[in-house]
Symmetry: D2
Subunit: 162 residues, 4 copies
């Protein structure tokens, strides 16, 4: 399909659908600046100030694109926010260039994700050499607990891959 | 920002970035037809034939938008595919209109998600009244095991909400 | 084998082995008083004072019988303490006669379980009708974090069984 | 308390309680022969023949000592059997002297553990260098699925400790 045809389809979109396209464009442009991959930019996950140096805080807006059929945030999106917050926390905590892969992640869902934003607070629970045991809490606008998680990450050292 | 300005930014995108916008447009248009929410359409998750009636199979293409900084599929995207495959399996298995929410999900990551597609196979492990215990396996192009998960879903009955 | 023969074998045990038998006898006698089942009595799990009414605290001594081949507490024993602490917390929190079954439990192991005692702190994270989402932390003598867990319990209502 | 007094209390036990003491004595004596720690011997976990070389099978009898207040096997005992089966599988699979510690374990409970025996089938799902991702299924007398688990173990190499 040529670009012209796609442009015409975009022009025909409703305002609400158009905003989803605009969000995609914004994410693509931001990638060039912040070097983060697409998904984090698409979800618009942003680092926030943290009163506790041991807790890494980030948040994302709840846009229509992340809702499931029941109009609450998709469990997969919540899991993605957990994974991003914990991985980002590790990257901030360890020396630049450190790489981490998720070995396993357990996500518990409590209250429905709804309202304006989701806020994630991630912290390192324990480190055993290259194994990082991490936990994260996600809360909604009113401070209500939306989801908790725990995960095990592996720090990649030297040229090893998993 | 007005639509005209966004259209100009889209026109200025590289071909690769433009394809991500086109994917968004396709997802938005498909939503109107299949009534599925945005994210499943954006990830292009499609039902596949299953040789085993007890196993629900679906798959998604690996596009640049789902890759993490190490060029493998984001753990959050893999978790999203698990969650969607398991939820979709339940919707097919139970009577139309049944609703299910994820209570908890455990995801184990094995081999990196790379190649052309990820294929998910979900099945019901056990049902205890409204509690559904479910498992899912995700494999890559060569059949290599990318990720396994187990989850507990709650079937919503009558007008109850969780 | 008749009781007399068993008595002779007991009499022949070393002092250390004899203490394990004595522990079994103590557990069997305590069962008659506290009506708790054998395992909790054998592990000698005891309720402790808690400064926070939302946190249920109990502890158990580390005896040779709970050690694995590396001389640290068996992962299964730690998991048992998690399960008992969370279940006991629920029984204290809800009305007498309430029954709870474990649906799933995730246990993370951090520092080795060693020293004199393990102390478990369990709390209710969220309740969605009959579903109880619970968490527990186990610490050693020096306050070091030995293990954390999260679990989902189902409250049995009326004459239902799972 | 001196040994004589304990012997008198043992002599006063009911036959059922006496059998629990006899089980303890048997476990203590077996420890001397098989060098396994107490708990596995107390639970009487035994290796079984496996038709599949990739699946390690073991089983344990359901005795009164492992029942919870609802007369089904304690969730903690089931978790212990999972942990033992998976650890034992790894010890059989790797070279003698290899040591493994549990990093995390997720246990799902399906049908109640009751009847005569529980049978566990453990297998290696994936190995990423020293990280072992393992799964286990526990079934009852009729083949009914009692519990499933997945776990991550770390192989200890050289003189390292976790």
């Amino acid at each position: 399909m040529d670009r012209q045809e796609v442009m015409e389809r975009i022009a025909a979109l409703s305002d609400r659908s158009f905003r989803a396209v605009e969000n995609t464009v914004r994410a693509l442009e931001q990638m060039k600046e912040n070097r983060y991959p697409f998904l984090g930019n698409f979800l618009n996950v942003e680092k926030e100030e943290s009163a506790d140096p041991d807790v890494f805080v980030c948040s994302m807006p709840i846009v229509p694109e992340v809702l499931n059929p029941y109009r609450i945030v998709y469990g997969g999106v919540t899991a993605t926010l957990h994974d991003m917050a914990m991985g980002w926390m590790l990257e901030h905590r360890f020396e630049p260039g450190s790489k981490f892969v998720t070995i396993d992640m357990q996500v518990n869902y409590h209250n429905p994700g709804k309202g304006k934003r989701l806020k994630a607070e991630a912290r390192l629970v324990h480190q055993a050499r290259e194994l990082l045991q991490v936990a994260c809490e996600i809360r909604g606008d009113q401070g209500e607990l939306v989801s908790t998680s725990s995960a095990t990450f592996l720090q990649l050292v030297r040229k090893e891959s998993v």
